[in-house]
């Protein structure tokens, strides 16, 4: 239900002041905390070393190739003493007493191993057995403590981030997710450094709400907004994602709960899945320092092959052509550059059984291929663990990031890609006196160097996250924990056109060269309070019970400040106050809150069969006033059948069967249930209001219902592991925002790109598919081993109903519809099925699809289904070849198929801005239907038809390659280190696609051409390629 409280007079001003002070204090305190922590721990380190009484050190190796196992946890049995292996597989434990200890070694992908060690032994060698399926591995499910995979009735994808970042070039959380977890689809927006992506887990489950999964870090919900930043692409799209504020080097692992069956305990908001990020933590022992240095380049691969040759008539009537090479020659400078990438990470971890720490700091600067695009940021993290007694465990995490992402204008904003895609032979300086005077050098509008001078767009971000967790086990059968934390993001989204007098006379920029300043500051705060308790009993020796209850409270606060002005009196000034025209200001605040509780019972039989049932109750501030709380049930079963005495298939070592059913939800947008007006200024400065949202008091949450069946199996002595899942997910009461007819008068807040919409619970969406993860050791010898990983996921998506009787479709954006019987947000357009060309190349006899395979006059033809916007099939294949123990060669190819994109580049070249395509001048060389599309328009017999632009976007990419070599110890010592690894890694090195645009992965993230299921690519930068050389040192 919607609740509101009035704000007292003056409160906004005070609130702003308090927020500002809090923000400043937060920044300063965080910086001080981080510095103090690193300094303090550095001082603490020698003391810890002196405190050691006995030492065990050694190396953890994998069986077969005897490759070092990095990131393995080595713990002295029965104590908190532990260590984590480094890149060379080495560990060191201090503070030991006695003469003999038992060590437990755990690592994702390996069978847990125990080893006896003599105190004082520093050359211990522990060999771990690879396990393709590890049922004793624990994952986070929402209850206190972790749950072993054997007890889970649903699939949970785990990404060993520490292992990935060690060998592959990973720039972001999105890079970590891509191609590694079946069912998780990452869809980037632009290749500009700092650009983010959308993430879809098990398809599109919502018609109108965000389809992004929830994001948790160390148990606390974090800001997961995508499409933030200044509007760099026009059409309302901004490409920066908050997912990517998290430094991949700080991540230990990522766990993905993929849908309602797994995420019921996360309640309303979790129906799109949950991404859990677990950051690195310290283990007891002497301080272990790590230093990582990266140097590399970002570049646009093959611009000559990507950009189409353009054609135009020139004086005299001849048709002149211009390709990228010609344009670059005419420009007289490099249109795209090799951007320099550099990153420096420093970390230290260690501690004692009582207190453990992990502290890291990093600084990175990455330059894009466009002249003004760069990313600069520093990132600090301090994680602490305190174990005052066997009954209490306290964890605290502090993270702080600060930086700037400078974006180049793209798409409708103009800019480098825009002016290059539309390169114009008529604008070559040698074409005419007028062209020479304008000095466009073949670019369409402004030269790229001019664009980069005048349009300065950037986002400053300052983000502080803090989380705490207290786990208490007062008695052996009862455990409870309290998680709490906050995530505060301060975004400064800036647009600045400096006054550049020499460009005022340039018609491409005109009055914009007089200057403009726009500031959109946002302060977003997520707060989490999460209590959970579990009582565990052995009812009989073979029958166990675990009863869990929990309550969660989440609150989000989104503040917004806006300032705008035009025309600087003189060059050199940049503030809104320095503008002399059209100044305007705005301020807003939105809040939402949710409160939920759950109870769950899990019964285990003989540690092989696990049955779980639970229910969650949620209430949310955005529910309509006529809607009360919602309940979500869950049931699951897990059966490790391979551990039954009757199991007699030696080739199948492990087999777990699982089944799960669960529900979760998705809350409507804040205030979408309320009919409201916006304040306005009336005549003579009087107060006024204007209609805003029509509202819907009956609005409730979407309800996701999911069933999944699957198995986890290990074959051939664990050489091959398979995880297979079939799922069927239904979204009931799917929330649809349809355009409100303008005649109702409530028009939203269009000045802020929030157009008139009304949300209502309508219809049903079905998603189904399979997910397969296969891991295997193709071969292993003493000096060589090859590991292969294969992922495959399919998604079948269909709108079953739109709620209202007879309602078959609603528009979902330009050329997209939500239509019953088809995937969400599919492409619909008239389709030309036949045409002929006359002798001059003019299309005649043009007929369109009549909806049943026949031809009909295009003016009366129906819009027919052309394809889906989200991939239907995605997968990846990765290979790691280990040679001579210390050399690892790695590669990952991923693909996405079964979807289409609108090739906006061809659209603007061939149709929108006049003819620049070869089809315009040599139509007889082309298919008559394509020519008919190019020639269609409002002033000819065939109306504008863009079916030829909605193109299959299937692709495969050579996403990652690397070669990593662990240097011999003596070489490391020459650098003063105890271990050293060097690596050369590449990213986005090849693309195989038939897509006609610049980049099958690029698209708008927001606006009328973007949004939740948009797939419109237009003059945005393709994904950049990278080569990075790194040195990793340990001390």
């Amino acid at each position: 239900m919607q609740r509101s409280s009035s704000t007292p007079r003056g409160a906004p001003v005070r609130a702003r002041l308090v927020r500002h002070l809090a923000s400043s204090l937060t920044i300063h305190l965080t910086r001080l905390t981080a510095l103090a922590a690193v300094a303090g721990l550095a001082a603490f380190a020698p003391a810890a070393a002196r405190a050691q009484e006995g030492v065990v050190a050694g190396t953890v190796l994998s069986e077969g190739a005897l490759a070092p196992v990095t990131g393995a946890q080595v713990v002295v049995t029965g104590t908190q003493l532990g260590s984590v292996t480094d890149a060379a597989g080495r560990f060191r434990l201090g503070g030991l007493t006695g003469t003999q200890v038992e060590l437990e070694v755990r690592r994702i992908g390996f069978r847990p191993t125990r080893a006896q060690a003599r105190v004082g032994d520093t050359e211990l060698r522990i060999v771990m057995q690879l396990r393709a399926v590890e049922l004793d591995e624990t994952v986070i499910t929402g209850t206190p403590g972790a749950t072993e995979k054997r007890a889970l009735g649903n699939a949970v994808s785990t990404i060993n981030a520490a292992q990935v970042t060690e060998i592959a070039q990973v720039n972001s959380v999105h890079d970590l997710l891509n191609g590694r977890a079946p069912g998780v689809v990452v869809m980037p927006s632009t290749g500009a450094v700092g650009g983010g992506a959308r993430v879809r887990v098990r398809g599109v489950a919502s018609l109108s709400l965000s389809n992004e999964p929830l994001l948790y870090v160390d148990g606390v919900r974090l800001n997961n907004m995508v499409a933030t930043g200044p509007e760099s692409q026009s059409f309302s799209s901004s490409p920066i994602s908050r997912f990517n504020d998290i430094n991949p080097e700080d991540i230990e692992s990522i766990e993905i709960l993929k849908g309602p069956a797994a995420a019921t305990l996360y309640g309303t908001e979790a129906s799109n899945g949950v991404i859990q990020i677990i950051t690195k933590r310290g283990t007891s022992g002497a301080p272990r320092w790590t230093a990582n240095i990266k140097q590399g380049i970002n570049y646009l691969r093959d611009p000559e092959g990507r950009f189409e040759t353009n054609y135009q008539p020139v004086p005299g009537g001849a048709i002149r052509s211009l390709d990228f090479s010609g344009l670059q020659e005419a420009a007289g400078y490099d249109i795209f550059r090799n951007g320099h990438l550099q990153e420096y990470d420093l970390g230290v971890s260690g501690g004692s059984p009582l207190f453990r720490y992990y502290v890291s700091g990093s600084w990175e600067q990455s330059e894009g291929a466009e002249l003004s695009n760069y990313l600069r940021r520093y990132n600090t993290r301090a994680n602490f663990s305190l174990t005052p007694s066997d009954r209490i465990g306290i964890d605290a995490s502090l993270g702080y990031i600060s930086g700037r992402t400078r974006l180049s204008p793209e798409a409708g904003y103009g800019g480098t890609v825009w002016s290059t895609v539309l390169m114009s032979p008529a604008n070559l300086n040698d074409n005419s006196a007028a062209a020479l005077a304008a000095d466009r050098r073949g670019f369409y509008t402004g030269r790229t160097d001019e664009y980069n001078r005048i349009y300065l767009l950037w986002q400053d971000v300052s983000r502080f996250t803090a989380s705490g967790s207290v786990t208490h086990t007062p008695i052996s059968w009862f455990r409870h924990r309290l998680n709490f934390g906050t995530d505060r993001t301060d975004e400064g989204n800036n647009t600045w056109y400096p006054r550049i007098d020499e460009l005022v006379a340039n018609p491409n920029f005109g009055s914009e060269a007089l200057g403009l300043r726009e500031i959109r500051d946002r302060q977003v705060t997520y707060s989490t309070l999460d209590y959970a308790a579990t009582a565990s009993f052995a009812i009989t020796p073979s029958l166990t019970s675990a009863t869990s209850v929990g309550a969660q409270y989440y609150r989000t606060n989104n503040g917004f400040l806006y300032a705008y002005g035009e025309v600087f009196a003189v060059p050199g000034v940049s503030s809104v106050r320095a503008t002399s025209l059209n100044q305007s200001y705005d301020e807003d605040l939105t809040e939402e809150a949710s409160l939920g509780t759950y109870i769950q019972e899990q019964v285990g039989i003989s540690d092989r069969l696990f049955l779980t049932a639970g229910v969650r109750a949620d209430d949310h501030s955005a529910f309509g006033s006529n809607f009360d709380r919602v309940y979500y049930p869950k049931f699951s079963a897990s059966y490790v059948i391979s551990e039954e005495p009757f199991w007699s298939f030696p080739w199948a070592n492990t087999l777990k069967l699982r089944a799960a059913y669960g529900e979760s939800g998705k809350a409507p947008e804040t205030f979408s249930s309320v009919r409201s007006f916006s304040p306005a200024i009336g005549p003579s400065g009087t107060a006024a209001v204007t209609p805003r949202d029509i509202g819907n008091p009956n609005l409730g949450p979407e309800r996701g219902k999911e069933i999944e069946l699957g198995f986890d199996a290990g074959f051939f002595d664990e050489r091959l592991g398979l995880e297979f899942t079939w799922y069927r997910k239904r979204t009931m009461d799917a929330i649809l925002d349809r355009d409100v007819p303008g005649s109702i008068g409530f028009i939203g807040d269009p000045a802020n790109q929030l157009f008139a919409r009304q949300f209502f619970n309508a219809g049903e969406i079905r998603n189904s598919g399979i997910e397969l993860l296969a891991r295997g050791r193709a071969f292993e010898r003493e000096n060589a081993g090859l590991e292969l990983t294969f992922t495959l996921a399919t998604n079948d998506n269909e709108i079953v109903s739109l709620g209202e009787e007879g309602l078959q479709f609603v528009t979902a954006g330009t050329y997209r519809q939500h239509r019953v019987g088809y995937p969400v947000g599919s492409w619909f357009e008239r389709r030309i099925v036949s045409a002929t060309l006359d002798a001059t190349g003019t299309a005649t006899n043009v007929l369109c699809d009549d909806g049943s395979g026949g031809g009909v006059n295009c003016n009366t033809a129906p819009f027919v289904y052309l394809g889906r916007t989200v991939p239907k099939v995605e997968g990846g294949i990765g290979a790691t070849l280990t040679l001579f123990r210390n050399l690892r060669l790695y590669g990952l190819v991923d693909w996405k198929t079964g979807h289409k994109k609108l090739d906006g580049n061809t659209r603007v070249r061939c149709t929108f801005f006049g003819g620049r395509c070869r089809e315009n001048y040599y139509p007889l060389e082309f298919d008559a239907r394509r020519v008919a599309g190019v020639q269609s328009g409002p002033n000819v017999t065939v109306p504008t038809i863009v079916d030829f632009l909605i193109d299959e976007a299937d692709f495969a990419k050579l996403r990652e390659v690397s070669a990593a070599y662990t240097l011999p110890e003596r070489w490391a010592r020459t650098m003063g280190a105890s271990r050293a690894q060097v690596a050369l890694a590449g990213r986005n090195l090849a693309t195989w696609t038939k897509y006609g645009g610049l980049e099958p992965e690029a698209m708008f993230m927001g606006g009328t051409r973007g949004g939740s299921n948009g797939a419109w690519e237009q003059t945005t930068l393709p994904q950049l390629s990278q080569w990075v050389f790194s040195i990793n040192l340990g001390y």
Binding site: R3, S4, S5, T7, G412, A434, S476, P507, G510, S511, L514, A535, S536, F537, A538, I539, V549, Y553, V567, N582, D588, E591, T597, I599, A617, D619, H620, S621, V674, S676, F677, S678, P679, A680, I681, G682, P683, S684, G685, T686, A688, V689, T690, P691, G695, P741, G742, S743, I744, G745, F746, I747, P750, F755, T811, F912, G914, G915, G937, N939
Partner: protein, 427 residues
């Protein structure tokens, strides 16, 4: 793990569960702040009658500015000088019902359909509330009611003039939408006329300024319906010096004069259209900046609205006289033609034009059209003159557009798909 009896387990779990579920009753925790949104029920109060009236005026004034510019682009009063999607489809005359910009954009972003509908609905709702309240609750209630009805009439009038068809939805007494059906411009003009008539016939009589505003509006609506006699009768009642302005200010972007925002010393988004560049008429003050836009067109600046605060003229004695002249030309008697000639020659004198001597009816009609485009330049009038007089396209359909492509033939804006696809009465 301890072994214990199931009863004990159930008791403990039940207690914990009950505690947890009790938390969901904490409604206080779910209270959220909404400092910039005003719930509808807040303003539906007689105490806010003035606020409602001011809101009606504000919504209409912003919509009028946007309509004047967009109509000016279609009607050659302005040319797009940057070739962005904001203006290009209108200047090239190929606006399509799929285009969302004219349909849903805010008035400050050159939307016209939604802003005009907002102005109409705001006025309609205000009239509904004012009608339901008493004179004791609202001082000058009848005058306020007349004002909002007059603005409602003008909003409907512009929807009829600018769109090939339109829809007039309303709200019932419970605040539920009552969706309208698609109506023709003629039907819209009849609806507008009814609103103006309500003002003119109101008792007690509204203030003269409001009544004159309604008289000019009804004369215009009647003219559009071919009721020349009725139009002339209304127009003749309007004092020559009467003028009703739509105010503008520099308070915020929404309040600024939209023509100035699109064409001024600080905005080269548009240029003055070619037919208006060399009139040498003080009523169409322009300046050649000597520079070209990106598409090569010369940049001419309009000087009629030199500041953000420059008001638009909504209704005036001048317009009324031109209506009288037009009706007289239509009547085509010697006396009427003389009346029309006299009026038109007075206007021609203002424009430094020679006087007409014994013109024919056709010559007078051409002269009238010429005077209307000069006198009412960039006031949101010329687009419908092009339509109702069926004037030739200039440039002709098929002429190469400076930014690429060719000029089309779309004059009246089509009913947007956002209305057609989402209004349950359409489809």
């Amino acid at each position: 793990m301890d072994i214990m009896n199931i009863q004990s387990l159930a008791r403990r779990a039940g207690a914990l569960g009950a505690m947890a579920l009790a938390l969901t009753a904490c409604d206080k925790l779910l209270e959220v702040d909404s400092p910039s949104r005003i719930p509808a029920e807040t303003i539906e109060d007689p105490a806010y009658a003035d606020l409602l009236v001011n809101s009606v005026v504000a919504d209409f004034e912003c919509a009028l500015g946007s309509y004047a510019v967009l109509g000016g682009l279609i009607g050659e009063e302005l040319d797009d000088a940057t070739q962005t999607a904001d203006r290009y489809p209108y200047d090239i005359r190929n606006a399509q019902p799929t285009d969302r910009r004219y349909a849903v954009n805010a008035c400050q972003d050159l939307g016209v359909y939604a802003p005009l509908q907002t102005a109409r609905v705001t006025a309609s709702n205000a009239a509904r509330f004012l009608s339901g309240w008493s004179d004791a609750q609202v001082p000058d209630r009848q005058a306020k009611l007349a004002i909002v009805r007059a603005y409602e009439g003008y909003a409907i009038l512009l929807l009829g003039e600018g769109f090939c068809s339109t829809v007039l939805s309303t709200f019932d007494a419970d605040g539920n939408p009552v969706y309208g059906t698609e109506i023709t411009p003629a039907q819209a003009f009849a609806e507008a006329e009814a609103r103006f008539t309500e003002v003119i016939d109101a008792t007690p009589a509204p203030p003269d300024s409001v009544r004159n505003m309604a008289l000019v509006g009804r004369a215009r609506a009647r003219l559009n319906q071919g009721n020349f006699t009725g139009a002339r009768a209304d127009a003749a009642l309007v004092p020559a010096a009467y003028v009703k302005l739509a105010s503008a200010s520099d308070d915020d972007a929404r309040r600024r004069n939209r023509a100035w925002a699109q064409n001024s010393a600080t905005s080269t988004a548009t240029s003055v259209g070619a037919p208006y560049r060399n009139l040498n008429d003080p009523r169409v003050p322009v300046l050649n900046t000597g520079t070209n836009g990106p598409t090569g067109i010369p940049l001419w600046r309009q000087l009629k609205y030199p500041e953000a605060e420059s008001p638009f003229r909504l209704a005036s004695g001048e317009e009324a006289r031109l209506i009288v002249a037009e009706a007289a030309i239509q009547a085509n008697t010697p006396a009427d033609l003389l009346t029309a000639t006299t009026i038109i020659n007075e206007f021609r004198a203002q424009g430094n034009q020679t006087q007409l001597v014994a013109p024919t009816q056709a010559e007078l009609r051409a002269a009238l059209i010429d005077q209307r485009r000069r006198e009412l330049y960039l006031e949101g009038q010329h687009l419908y003159d092009l339509i109702r007089f069926n004037l030739p396209f200039d440039p002709a359909v098929g002429t190469t557009f400076p930014g690429g492509g060719t000029y089309g033939n779309v004059r009246c804006l089509p009913l947007p798909n956002t209305e057609r696809f989402n209004n349950p009465n359409l489809g």
